[in-house]
Amino acid sequence: MAQVLRLDPIRCDGYGVCAVHLPERITLDEWGYPVIEPGPVPERLLSRARRAADACPVLALSLRQAAVAPATTGSRAGIRPARTGA
């Protein structure tokens, strides 16, 4: 089963430890926040991806099964969220 890195951008405080562990998949932006290569993590990088996730001081990064089906509604299904209302 394919595994993906998932970043919770609210928890992330930009410590940047993840990018040290997995520079092939994680770079830091100008403000020090991680930019994660989308898509499944290749087999050979899985153990280091796990380490990158474990090293996050605020538990913002996790390694998990790739989602099977997208959510039915809402912003993560690729639709802009409601602004004046939903």
């Binding site: 919770d8 609210i10 928890r11 930009g14 509604t73 004046t84 209302g85 939903a86």
Partner: protein
């Protein structure tokens, strides 16, 4: 030629006569039809093609079905009247003048998704709307049915975002969340929750009465039905109008003094896009068509500006607002929008260092898509449209030359 379009949501007594009372409302439209199978109501709303009016344009029927599928008769309907978009006034007009249409829509939704509770979530600053709705709820007090609660939503652009709405109702914190479960699965008090804009619900109240075919009778293009828009400009106060989808921007302009000598227009609100007025004069206000052209109907904002408006100054104002309106949660949004807003402000003031314009483009690429919600994406889309439409103004400001509006400070 077709017959002139007759307003639907805004049919009935003129605005000057204030909120429509329950008896007037029932005499004009009749009561909501008695419920049969709640799935039937959802099918009718789906068949109507009704799109959400809060900005996202998500199909309303599909949203109701998603909530209904998770509901064991314990769902919650949240009527979203936060209306935090600075250039929009249409939700307020609806709440203040047609409160019972909104409440009917909420009742129909509650019936359809199996919700014993309806929460009206209305902007704290919208005092008239809250007063009218409170009175309308009282008028219906002796009627059986759902429990209706009126909650004052915190002021702010982000407070109307669906997950922020749920977060506020659960924990008093109107900031978006990043949870695996979406509101339709687990929302208010962990119950399946429908968060729906007030205009969407008012439209649904009419569809429930008159059917999907009636709803689709109006419209000039692919998207059927009518919509409320807020028209504004340099001259006069913003006005709220009801149009049929597909009405060209130029036709809206002719109806409004706000549009006299318009050279640019902001469509969709602060999550929308600037365009040159000449480019969209014949462009229909049709969400499907607009999406193909990388425009957005959004929440129906149509805001004109004239040649005396400096595009850079106007963009500085909006980006400063958007940077100040973040939930202060996600780093790229917080720091990126702040850097962008400051640079656009420097350009507007004529104090920008040489590479500022270039750096703005680089920051935009790093902010887009990086938040828990779409606040940064919306702000960046607007910025990019401004950089295109006002390219000449931006170039002049970067070079510290006078822009056509004469506002570039010559250092």
């Amino acid at each position: 030629m077709t017959t002139p379009f007759e307003p639907r949501l805004l049919a009935g007594p003129p605005p000057a006569s204030g909120p429509e009372r329950l008896e007037e409302h029932r005499a004009r439209l009749g009561a909501l039809p008695p419920s049969t199978d709640r799935r039937d109501v959802i099918s009718v709303v789906e068949a109507s093609g009704l799109l959400g009016r809060g900005g996202a344009g998500f199909p309303v029927g599909r949203k109701w079905r998603a909530v209904a599928e998770h509901s064991a008769g314990d769902a919650v309907v949240v009527v979203n009247g936060a209306e935090g978009e600075p250039r929009s006034a249409k939700d307020r007009v609806l709440m203040e003048h047609r409160p019972h249409l909104v409440l009917d829509g909420a009742a129909a939704a509650a019936e359809a998704v199996g919700a014993p509770d309806v929460i009206l979530y209305v902007g704290t600053e919208h005092t008239a709307a809250r007063r009218v709705l409170a009175h309308a709820i009282a008028e219906r007090e002796r009627e059986s049915g759902v429990r209706v609660h009126l909650v004052a939503a915190p002021v702010g652009y982000i407070a109307g975002e669906a997950t922020a709405v749920v977060h506020y109702l659960n924990a008093g914190d109107a900031r978006p969340t990043f949870l695996d479960a979406r509101p339709h699965e687990r929302g208010v008090a962990g119950r399946p929750t429908l968060v729906q804009n007030v205009e969407s619900l008012a439209q649904a109240a009419l569809i429930t009465r008159f059917g999907d075919e009636w709803y689709r009778e109006v419209g000039r293009g692919a998207t059927r039905g009518s919509a409320l828009i807020t028209v504004s400009g340099a001259n006069g106060r913003p006005t709220v109008r009801e149009i049929e989808y597909g009405t060209p921007v130029g036709e809206v302009a002719r109806l409004s003094t706000a549009a006299s000598s318009a050279s640019a227009v902001l469509l969709g609100g602060y999550f929308g896009a600037w365009t040159s007025f000449d480019d969209v004069r014949d462009e229909p206000l049709d969400p499907v068509r607009m999406r193909e052209r990388e425009l957005g109907f959004g929440c129906g904002v149509v805001s004109f500006s004239g040649p005396d408006t400096c595009g850079v100054a106007a963009t500085a104002e909006i980006m400063t607002y958007m940077a100040g309106a973040t939930a202060a949660q996600c780093g790229p949004c917080v720091y990126g929008l702040a850097d962008i807003a400051q640079a656009v402000r420097r350009l507007a003031d004529g104090t920008a260092p040489d590479r500022d314009l270039e750096r703005i483009g680089g920051w935009a690429a790093q902010v887009d898509g990086r938040g828990a919600c779409h606040h940064p994406d919306g702000a960046i889309a607007l910025l990019r449209s401004a950089l295109r439409v006002f390219a000449d103004d931006f170039a002049r400001h970067q070079a510290r030359r006078r822009c056509p509006a004469g506002r570039a400070a010559v250092a």
